[in-house]
């Protein structure tokens, strides 16, 4: 049973460029959440997708956008990259429930913006 997978593992981009990160959820999960983790800090919630729609969004600018596909996989897009976007981007999958099951995290994509 494959867990959450993310690609790529590492990425280096230049300021102003655009980037797309990918995530495949754990088998049986249909909700995908994205988090940004800056060095030395805890993860910050970006947004969550369920049934191909953005269900919740954290305090991130519109430069951050996403998509969920019919197979529940998801993409995170960041436009007009800033140096401050350098971080570890984590994808987590879960089952939709108001009682909040635990979330399963992928290994992350380390993005470096130069």
């Amino acid at each position: 049973d494959a867990g959450v997978t993310q690609s790529p593992t590492h990425l280096i981009k230049t300021r102003g460029q655009q980037v797309t990160l990918r995530c495949s959820p754990k088998s049986g999960h249909d909700t995908v959440s994205w988090y940004q983790q800056a060095l030395g800090q805890g993860p910050q919630f970006i947004f969550q997708y369920y049934e191909e729609e953005e269900r919740q969004r954290g305090n991130f600018p519109d430069r951050f956008s996403g998509h969920q596909f019919p197979n529940y996989s998801s993409e995170l897009n960041v436009n007009a990259l800033l140096l401050g976007d350098s971080a570890l981007y984590l994808c987590a999958s879960s089952l939709p429930s108001l009682s909040s099951y635990e979330q399963y995290f992928g290994p992350g994509t380390r993005l470096t913006v130069t």
């Binding site: 959440s33 987590a92 009682s99 909040s100 995290f105 992350g108």
Partner: protein
């Protein structure tokens, strides 16, 4: 913004000793979860405690929750070098959005 705040920020102990980490939060919660992160990679779920529970055990882990004080603690007993990692508490809000604290860095010396 971060809701959970862990204390201490860093902890260094000898193998075999117990490690205690504390977490405080600000708003009402549905549940509180603890996660471990090794070397800046993905987070691993350790334990979830619901708002109507006061204590929960899982192997060498013991978690307590005091909703009146809006605080939780994670105790790792008989620590091992492999327990060296960052530990985060996270509160679960509506729709399974997790709000994390800044974490405690635990170093277990062998």
């Amino acid at each position: 913004s971060q809701q959970g705040e862990e204390d201490p920020q860093a902890l260094s102990i000898q193998e075999g000793e117990n490690a205690t980490m504390n977490c405080s939060y600000k708003t009402s919660i549905n549940n509180l979860q603890w996660y471990r992160q090794n070397s800046g990679r993905g987070l691993v779920h350790l334990i979830l405690i619901r708002s109507n529970e006061r204590e929960k055990h899982s192997g060498r882990l013991r978690v307590t929750l005091d909703t009146s004080k809006k605080s939780s603690s994670l105790l790792i007993t008989a620590s091992r070098a492999a327990d060296t990692a960052s530990y985060f508490c996270a509160t679960a809000e509506y729709g399974n959005k997790l709000v994390f604290g800044a974490g405690t860095i635990l170093r277990v010396k062998s």
